[in-house]
């Protein structure tokens, strides 16, 4: 299936099909707003929850489901930092690099993660287990330095705690 965007490009859905349950959730989100485009960020998050990231084929599939332009969906998907347009690890480690964590030795923690995982910030481990990404102030500055793994907030985290902390994320 292909969907023709109004700006003239054609993006193949690459055999991607929205999971029926996801499609239903997206339509449910659409009902919360006066216009369907408003549900597009939530739609991307729904797809990402199932697939870990947003595969190329999901972009036209979401556009078709919501009745909006492919370019608008892709424009949004590439703007927001928590929408992943490339595959990520099973667990995404968001490490806060803002000022309060910087002042409570975030850089030492970041370097320890880089050494322990053997990847740079922005990369995924070869076994596909972890992706390490920077994030804006996590709003837990009283516990800096902080990280968010999945939905779990940790802080303060010291470099020597990393191996034990990561054991919980298979």
């Amino acid at each position: 299936m292909t969907t023709t965007a109004t700006i003239g490009t054609t993006i193949a859905s690459d055999g991607f099909a929205l999971d029926p349950a996801d499609r239903e959730m997206i339509l449910e989100e659409r009902a919360h707003y006066p216009y369907p485009q408003a549900a597009c960020i939530e739609a991307l998050k729904i797809v990402q929850k199932r697939h870990g990231h947003v595969p190329d084929g999901a972009i036209p599939a979401i556009a078709e489901t919501l009745g909006i332009r492919v370019a608008d969906v892709e424009g949004v998907a590439t703007f927001y930092s928590l929408i992943f347009r490339q595959p990520v690890g099973r667990h995404v480690i968001l490490i806060c690099d803002s000022s309060s964590c910087f002042l409570t030795d975030y850089e030492a923690l970041r370097d320890a993660f880089i050494e322990h995982l053997g990847i740079q910030v922005g990369q995924t481990t070869a076994d596909g287990r972890f992706t390490l990404l920077p994030v804006c102030c996590l709003g837990a500055c009283d516990r800096g330095p902080t990280i968010l793994i999945g939905e779990d907030l940790h802080g303060p985290v010291t470099p020597d705690e990393i191996p034990r902390l990561l054991e919980a994320y298979a």
């Binding site: 919360h32 707003y33 006066p34 216009y35 369907p36 485009q37 408003a38 549900a39 597009c40 960020i41 939530e42 991307l44 998050k45 909006i68 608008d72 424009g75 949004v76 703007f79 927001y80 930092s81 928590l82 929408i83 968001l94 690099d97 803002s98 000022s99 309060s100 910087f102 002042l103 409570t104 920077p134 994030v135 804006c136 102030c137 996590l138 709003g139 837990a140 500055c141 009283d142 516990r143 800096g144 968010l148 939905e151 907030l153």
Partner: protein, 446 residues
Amino acid sequence: MSRILQSAGERRAETHPLTWRLHDDQSPVLLEEYLDTQGYAAVTKALEQHTYESLTEEVKSANLRGRGGAGFSAGFKWSLTMKGEGVPRGYIVCNADEMEPGTFKDRLLMEQQPHLLIEGMILAGIANRAKQGYIFLRGEYHLAAAAIQRALADARADGWLGADVRGSGWDFDIALHTGAGRYICGEETALINSLEGKRANPRAKPPFPGQSGAWGLPTVVNNVETLCNVPGIVNHGADWFQALSGDLSSDGGTKLYGVSGKVNNPGLWELPMGTTGNRILELAGGMRDGLTLKSWLPGGGSTGFLLPEHLELALDFDTIGKTGSRMGTGLLTVVADNQSMVSLTRNLEEFFARESCGWCTPCRDGLPWSVKLLRALEAGEGEAGDIELLEQMARDLGPGKTFCAHAPGAAMPLASAIHYFRDEFERGITRPKGEAHADPIPVGSV
């Protein structure tokens, strides 16, 4: 786990309107308990006794100033909302996109007392004749999202939201909208674009959101803490709110103040508006590890650095504003004497450069350039003229020069760090003017 909220004494309804119900174990205050402790009484009172004009007037005379950092009068903002016969009913949007570096106050209110926020939003809805509220919550606040969803469902089931609110004939509902990252979403017009499912680029003002906001309808955007102050004002009156701060400040109410950085006891306290920095730092147990305080940010990464002598000032919008900084969110970030100001400023400008939405040139190109210069100074590879160039950039990124307040926010810590700690920047200069940096720092790595 340590408690985020701490107390300087007993918390009571009359003195601690934001936090008096909160539990020591940090569990959320659920509907039943909220109702048993005057919860939603302000909505009942507003529906029975107020018109939308008188409700707006009450909040205006309380002089409730925006707790998201700008300090704009909430009541005055409401008075500017287009409403009345023939005007379509618009939206109340709660800015719950707390991402300001060093700020962790709204998360506490939403995780532990979501009904207070919902009550504040219903009142804002009545005063502005809105038909619908949205809570724009940052995507990383998972615990807050769960608490809000539960509270919305409970409030709806009990008739506080939906059609015919408590038999009043008035309808108003609230939906939770969770974001997907990007600091710029906290800018109110960027937030509206994001709510509409678009890229979070700010919009030109005017028209202001009160005239044409979400989907072209009148829209009021208020911060979480601002909205949480409204039920108390409606219950006890504008005079009570003004009296909360006593002689400490011309601004009324309490403030959730906090401290982060290398202090013994980081946390949050609800204190009268206008409490001094010294008192707040004392509650935070002073500096840890034998460090001494060199500088501090009064309320987030987009406020200007201050010196220890400024700690004796009242922390309110006008007093801190006179120093050339801003109170911002009122959560102090303290800097110890062994911290390089050049490195810290570099960290802040990296943040602002990364978070620029890219819409206007000074911000998109200027901020990475400032990072490049700061990295050179940090590495001791700066050249003569770099500091003056940074100062020029801070002016060119200031208010009125860019599309929104993002770049001015970035300029404030930059200008103030150079102003107060110029010697630290000068130590980074080792090359004559015009000599190319030996190892150019790639801007793209910001």
